[in-house]
């Protein structure tokens, strides 16, 4: 199967058999209005100028592409470059998308913003733009995540957002998404739902991807400035998959560039306690799109496990499902312990504390870099910083702060 980024999605948001719109009837018209608004403004020069200006002055873009020389030397293989999304305002790639969607919300005349969040990075990024634009903001977060990401909960509240704890289901990201959808269907007239990843009904997977491709577009330019050529390999972690698609998308047609998406293997794929639908799931329908899912033989969604709240999600963006089937991107999985080891390594060798999500990409890089020549280059998307995870790491290691 040949994949070019130009032939997907179709007008209804299908990436091959994946994607589409699977929602209750009440949301069909609001989604159509969103699609029309998005397709209009993404070609509107005033909108794009305002977006660029915000990305430069408010987010702090472009983010650096950093040559992790010491780490590369220790691993003794390819040269590793880190795309420093952790240096963005609010500490992760999530803000690239929330700035874009908030500008769209403003143009659509919506005064109220809602969002779901797992690790809290998307919630913080949403609360941040809502504060800046003077919009009311409600963030849904699973009770389990509220516990393990207490600092981000407080950050959202400091920014003026209301954080609503979700007690239903597995009390994690998927349930927060359900609850945000329920809020949206109840308040469609004045509310804009900012989804944080490349999942959900069309046009979300396309819209979020487009706002995140700034990562890949900058990387393409920066790596060529540094090395004179394209990278040999790209690596990014995949929960819903927004940071990954943001990095990968501008390289999809460069077939010499090998691309790896890294899912969370949790306790190990063989244990069933993981969050790796692409590596070990099956196709189905959840949260408005058809994709790979963690579901049981009766079609019920299985509770997932990962050390990283941001990867603890039973689905994945439909474009990733398509890229997997087409063979353009290889999807692999890294378990909790491997991610934790990479977290420590980067902290000690490069003075950069990565998010546990990004640590999964780093851990795969640690495995593969030594197998490549020193003149090869790998770009790893360092999608977020690790400050939010300090408590989790300390607790796991039996340290009380």
């Amino acid at each position: 199967m040949s994949v070019t980024k130009l032939n997907v999605p179709d007008a209804q948001g299908h990436f091959g058999p994946y994607g589409g719109i699977f929602v209750a009837e009440t949301l069909m018209q609001p989604l159509e209005e969103l699609r029309q608004a998005y397709e209009h403004y993404i070609k509107d020069s005033d909108f794009l100028a305002e977006l660029d200006d915000d990305l430069f002055h408010f987010v702090g873009r472009p983010s650096p592409l950093y040559h992790a020389k010491r780490w590369s030397d220790v691993l003794g293989g390819a040269q590793i470059y880190l795309k420093r999304e952790d240096l963005n305002h609010t500490g992760a790639h999530k803000i690239n998308n929330t700035v874009g969607q908030a500008l769209l919300a403003k143009r659509m005349g919506k005064k109220r913003i809602i969002a779901e969040t797992g690790a809290g990075q998307h919630g913080v990024a949403t609360a941040t733009v809502a504060a800046r634009f003077g919009m009311e903001c409600v963030v849904y977060m699973g009770a389990e995540d509220v516990k393990r990401q207490a600092i981000n909960v407080y950050r959202m509240r400091l920014l003026g957002a209301e954080v609503r704890t979700v007690e239903s289901g597995s009390k994690t990201l998927k349930d927060a998404l359900n609850e945000a959808m329920r809020d949206w269907v109840t308040h469609i007239d004045n509310t804009f739902y900012i989804i944080g990843t490349v999942a959900g009904p069309h046009p979300y997977p396309v819209m979020v991807r487009d706002f995140q491709t700034i990562i890949g577009r900058e990387t393409r330019k920066q790596i060529q400035e540094k090395t004179g050529q394209l990278p040999d390999m790209l690596i990014a972690c995949v929960g819903g998959g927004s940071n990954a698609i943001g990095l990968f998308y501008p390289f999809l047609e460069d077939h010499a560039v090998r691309i790896y998406g890294v899912e969370a293997a949790g306790d190990g794929l063989e244990t069933g306690h993981h969050a790796a639908p692409l590596c070990a799931g099956k196709t189905g329908v959840l949260h408005g799109n058809r994709t790979y899912l963690m579901s049981d033989d009766n079609g019920q969604i299985i509770e997932t496990h990962s050390i990283s709240a941001g990867l603890d999600y039973p689905g994945v963006g439909p474009e990733h499902a398509w890229l997997k089937d087409s063979g353009r991107v290889q999807y692999v999985a890294i378990n909790d312990q491997e991610a934790l080891a990479a977290f420590h390594n980067l902290s000690r060798l490069e003075g950069i504390m990565p998010a546990l999500e990004s640590s999964h990409a780093l851990a795969y890089c640690q495995k593969i870099a030594p197998t490549l020549d020193k003149n090869k280059s790998i770009v790893v998307n360092l999608s977020g910083r690790g400050d939010k995870d300090v408590h989790t790491v300390a607790t796991l290691e039996g340290i009380k702060i």
């Binding site: 929602v23 018209q29 239903s168 269907v185 109840t186 308040h187």
Partner: protein, 263 residues
Amino acid sequence: MNRLNKCFNLLRTQKRAALIPFITAGDPNPELTVPLMHKLVEAGADIIELGVPFSDPMADGPVIQRASERALAAGTSLHQVLKLVKNFRVDNQITPIVLMGYLNPIEIMGYEAFSQNAQNAEVDGVLTVDLPIEEGTALNTLLRSHEIAPIFLLAPTTTAERIQRIAAQADGYLYYVSLKGVTGSADLDVNSVAEKVAEIRQYSNLPIAVGFGIKDAETAGKIAKVSDAVIVGSALVTLVETVPQSELLETMANVVRELRQGL
């Protein structure tokens, strides 16, 4: 003629709206479901909507969500729901049964297998909440070929153009969602429901059922005057939480009787 058409034809001669209670299959346990269904009929139910529990019921309010969780905890699966309908049919060949649920359990069973199994169980209609017509052609064609009515939601946000497209594919009845929100929400506005039902009637001869937010006999009575059927879900399902199990059948029957008197 199928059970749904027969049912509405009969009600038309009686000049009465249908009462459609909704319960979640397997809530609080699968053993109670068939007795509960018979009790609903005895108390005046014309059609039964049987919820198929799903782990992520995005369109449902807290009452139906918890019902789903209880049913799943009791081990209820789509396979088992179909068995329950089959058991119900042993003693009841008349009352139409409509399954209401989400797509993923059907996807995992397979469209062909599901349609065949549902026909074997003598299911009369299937409403898949998260399957709009645009994505539903394959399943709906199979359901029809197995003599099962595909039932669709219409919402306050549905445009006239969409109403026509949906009505063209629907069978059995059209389910009008009376408010913007999830199941069991408050603040149903009877006047705006009446207006929208009148609009839908311009485009379809199918019976129009109204649900979401009908909590008592008084509201049911008002809605029955402007529609062909009244669907009551959360107001019944909530009894599972508030009434001891030993009294559940009788209490639910009493509420259904009261609703029926309001029509």
